[in-house]
C-alpha cells in the first residue's frame, strides 16, 4: 500500500531531519546506517534501553518516529555538556520533538493535513510488539553523532489507504527561527 518511492521519500525525510536536529552542535557529524529489517524489533540489535516515541498523523497514514537511547554518562555528557544539573530527559525529549517537527514540516508539503503528538518515553522492551500495529513500512537505523555518541531510530508507517508521493529533499531551507507576523 505504500509505494517504493513513498518509502524512499519517508526515509530521505527522516535522514534530513535527523541530520539537522539530532546533533547538539550544528557542526557535529551524524552518520545514519540502516539496520537489517529483521533486526528492527530486536532489542539487542538496537542500541538503547529506552525509546522516545512520537506520532505524526495524517488522514491516510500515521508515522511513528522511535528514537532509541541509553541514559548513560556518554549520552548525558553529549547532550548536557557541562550543565549536568539539567534534567536529561527534558533536553532529549525536546531534541526528539524538534527532529519530528522537521519531518512534519517536510511532509506538510505533500500532505496538507497533518498533526503531531507530544513525545513519550517507554522501555525498549515494547519494540517487539511494533508488529501488532500492523505497520506497512518499518525501517531501522543506527545513528552515530560526532563519531561516538550512539543512538538508534525506527520509522514505522501504518497506512489506511494507498500512499504514494515523491519528496524533494534537496532544498536546504532554514525557515526556522523567523517570526512571521499576521
Amino acid at each position: 500500500m505504500i509505494t517504493a518511492q513513498a518509502r524512499d521519500s519517508f526515509e530521505r525525510i527522516f535522514r534530513k531531519a535527523a541530520q539537522a536536529r539530532l546533533p547538539i552542535e550544528p557542526g557535529d557529524t551524524c552518520e545514519i546506517a540502516p539496520v537489517g529489517a529483521g533486526d528492527a524489533t530486536r532489542t539487542d540489535a538496537m542500541k538503547g534501553a529506552q525509546v522516545v516515541v512520537l506520532t505524526i498523523s495524517s488522514i491516510v497514514f500515521r508515522l511513528l518516529l522511535i528514537l532509541h537511547f541509553d541514559e548513560n554518562d556518554a549520552t548525558r555528557g553529549y547532550y548536557l555538556k557541562d550543565d549536568v544539573e539539567r534534567p536529561f530527559q527534558e533536553v532529549f525529549l525536546e531534541i526528539c520533538n524538534l527532529c519530528c517537527g522537521a519531518m512534519n514540516q517536510e511532509l506538510l508539503r505533500y500532505f496538507p493535513d497533518l498533526g503531531m503528538s507530544t513525545p513519550y518515553v517507554l522501555s525498549a522492551h515494547c519494540l517487539p510488539y511494533l508488529r501488532e500495529l500492523n505497520p506497512d513500512f518499518v525501517s531501522a537505523y543506527s545513528v552515530t553523532l560526532n563519531g561516538s555518541m550512539q543512538l538508534a531510530a525506527t520509522i514505522c508507517v501504518c497506512a489506511d489507504a494507498p500512499v504514494d508521493f515523491v519528496a524533494d529533499t534537496s532544498a536546504m531551507e532554514e525557515t526556522s527561527g523567523e517570526l512571521e507576523l499576521f
Binding site: 524538534l98 512534519n104 503531531m116 503528538s117 507530544t118
Partner: protein
Amino acid sequence: MSKILVVDDSSTVRDEVAGFLKKNGLDADTAVDGKDGLAKLKASPGIKLVISDVNMPNMDGLTMVEKIRGELANKTVNVIMLTTESSPAMKERGKAAGVKGWIVKPFKGDAVLETFRKLAS
C-alpha cells in the same frame, strides 16, 4: 511585574527563552502547559506578551489562546506561538484565534528580540 509569559511543557525551552529574555533586560514568567498559562495570565494582568508552544499536555497552546480571547475576554495581550508546527491550517487556526505571530522552532533569539521588546511594551 513581568510583562512576558513563556508557556512550554519543556523546561529546556522555558529556560532557553526566559533566560534569553532576562539576559536582555526583559523579565519573564513561565507556565508548563495551557491550563497553567491561563491561570498565570489571569493572576498577572500586567502581562503584555505571551510566547507559547502548541504541543503541550493538559491543554495545547491554540486552545489556550482561544480561551484567553473567549473565557478570559482578554483581547489585548499579544500572543506569539513558538512551535515545531508549521502547517498552514494550524496558522489559520492561530490567526482566527487572534495570535499575533508564529515562530517555527528552534528559537533564534537575536532575530526576534526587538519585536518581543516592542510587543511587550
